[in-house]
Amino acid sequence: MAIRNRVKELRARHGLTQGELAEKAGVTRQTIVSLEKGSYTPSLLLAMNLSDVLGEKIEDIFYREGDET
């Protein structure tokens, strides 16, 4: 089962570019690109970092495919 995310939507809501989000989360911009495309599933540590940066709970950013509400 694939894990989906709302990173793109939340990033736009915070007015951040991919590069800015990448810098705040401590990863490369290409990792954010892959995350938004859904082709990369992050580690728990990166998920926690993104949660801190975007100010959302992890479960509000990441969800299992088919679980979207």
Partner: protein, 162 residues
């Protein structure tokens, strides 16, 4: 990604140049052995030529290669220990790149598992090649390294673009 591709191209050139230089050195030692084994009691002359150009090219290339590798590494990894203990093609800027590097390394390792037995079989036929192409074991080893390096690079780029 560009840095990894350039490093892979540089590695392939380096291994090929190294095979060229070492095969030249082996020819020189063959000539020395021949000189030692010659019976000089009857007199005679002995000539051999030794081409220094490959050594010169490898030396210049190595300086450029080392400089490029050192210059393009992230500043926190610019240590001599890192230079000598890590492959220059490795790029582990974040967790995703580390995973990509692991996958590419695994693919390169699988490639060894296939290419080494194939080239071992080819080496069985060395008596047929030795006379006309005595340096071919060096090029065989370089080919094994080059094939694995290229597979590593192809997998790395493919995974990076996902």
């Amino acid at each position: 990604m560009k840095r990894v591709i350039i490093e892979i191209i540089l590695s392939v050139i380096f291994y090929t140049l190294l095979a060229w230089v070492l095969s030249g050195a082996a020819q020189m030692f063959r000539a020395i052995v021949q000189f030692e084994e010659t019976d000089w009691s009857q007199g005679g002359e002995f000539y051999f030529t030794f081409n220094l150009i490959p050594f010169f090219i490898l030396g210049l290339f190595s300086i450029f290669y080392a400089f490029y590798s050192f210059k393009t590494r992230s500043t926190n990894k610019r240590t001599l220990k890192w230079m000598f203990t890590s492959m220059t093609e490795y790029s582990e800027g974040d967790e995703r790149e580390s995973i990509i590097t692991s996958k590419a390394t695994r693919a390169g390792y699988y490639t060894y598992g296939v290419t080494v037995p194939i080239f071992m079989i080819i080496l069985v036929f060395s008596p047929f090649f030795n006379e006309h192409f005595p340096s071919y074991p060096f090029y065989t080893l370089a080919a094994i390294l080059n094939i694995s390096t290229i597979v590593y690079g192809v997998v790395w780029v493919r995974e990076y673009r996902k």
